[in-house]
Symmetry: C2
Subunit: 106 residues, 2 copies
């Protein structure tokens, strides 16, 4: 719990902290990475994204400019809400917690 963050300037580090049917909590350490140009995430599950440290730009399809996330900011992305990471702060690294969960019943 108190272990140091394994930031790696060369890549984004993601680890799963908890995994249950219909629920996965992950922690991501970014150090300047962004989604590949033109790449959009399009997921079958909902995702709750929380920025804990650093800063990042989150692009959401249909929004004119990326949302600028600072510590404590969060976004709920319903399944198939296309999004991409426009940029992340490298130093100190950007820390995210993400909660992937089953979408609401239709």
């Amino acid at each position: 719990m108190h272990e140091r963050l394994a930031a790696d300037p060369a890549r984004e580090v993601e680890e799963t902290l908890l995994s249950r049917p219909g629920l996965r909590i992950g922690r991501i350490v970014s150090s300047g990475q962004a989604s590949p140009p033109g790449h959009w995430y399009d997921q079958t599950e909902d995702e709750f994204v929380l920025l804990v440290a650093g800063e990042a730009g989150l692009e959401i399809a249909g929004e004119a400019v990326p949302r600028r996330l600072r510590p404590g900011d969060w976004v709920h992305l319903p399944a198939h809400c296309r999004h991409r990471v426009a940029w992340t702060q490298a130093e100190p690294p950007t820390l995210w917690f993400v909660i992937h969960h089953a979408p609401a019943a239709p």
Copy 2:
């Protein structure tokens, strides 16, 4: 998402950000509050606790001293893992995100 935190020195402020069957994500702003003396939480659901800002002491039944949580620290509390908040930093306020979820099938 970017709204200012509604810290209230007189009380702990909790709000539910997302609620689904078997899943609830909440945000808590503490400003010096602690659990009442001798009060232990004993919950029927698992709880994933993440400290985002400030600092807090989390007491877990059976552990000799409270865990000192700093930003980015997290604890997973299985259902019925008795715990209490020993102390929280008042200024700047302490920000927690909590994820209550259905326990793993036995």
